[in-house]
């Protein structure tokens, strides 16, 4: 169903609701649906940079914009240089200086 059709269906019940208002609720519904069902799976690739341990999940390529990538709900698997690597359940107790 296209966005326009969704808006028209809502306006049959609530003709007073504006398109903007409907769109806000549609986005809320879509986010809630994806969060609860985890129905959509995706992947993103980035390149490691020197002396960097952390990569923000909403801006993996550190270009200052999250619009160019998927927004992750959770992470199932990570490949490093095309090999699947293990997950630590907890951050390490101590980091080395380098």
């Amino acid at each position: 169903m296209k966005q326009q059709q969704m808006i028209e269906m809502v306006q049959k019940h609530h003709p007073e609701m504006t398109e903007t208002e409907i769109r806000i609720y549609l986005n809320k519904a879509l986010d809630e649906f994806c969060e609860q069902t985890k129905i959509l799976k995706g992947q993103e690739t980035f390149t490691t940079t020197a002396d960097t341990r952390y990569y923000k999940l909403d801006d993996l390529d550190s270009d200052g914009s999250g619009a160019d990538q998927h927004k992750f709900i959770d992470v199932d698997r990570v490949d490093y240089n095309n090999y699947q690597i293990s997950r630590l359940q907890e951050p390490p107790e101590k980091y080395s200086s380098s």
Binding site: K2, H13, F33, C34, I39, T47, T48, V78, Q89, P92
Partner: protein, 145 residues
Amino acid sequence: MSERSKALDHVWWIEYSSEKSTGYHVPSIAVAKVTSADTTTSFTTATSGKSVRIYGSVYDEDFVESGTGIALTEEPNIPSQFHEGLVHYVIMKGYENKMSAEGSMQKAGYFRNYWNICIKMGTKYGNRNFDNTGFNIKPADGFLM
């Protein structure tokens, strides 16, 4: 050391702690190289210039009037059988926003029920493994015989 061994020396974890003292913080993914010598394990930063691919559950794009996202003439990426559920959610919100009107509470409840069914069916759909083939567990002597 082979490329495979070098890669498998790395680990990842999700870092929830904030680098900032205040404010909202989005979790980060941490990638580190592990080296062990005698009883010491060291975690250092990963080699630069290597590709890291992350797999996981993602949000859909946003509905937009124009620009990047789901445009007026486009559909969301979730399976089509759940599109109507999104509409039910908005209709429910519409009735909740005018609770003083007669019958609004019942109507809101009616559409909330549809929305909850949609979530339930979506969860079931999301958990399916796309594989209906059966498998057998071969019994072993002395174990579950």
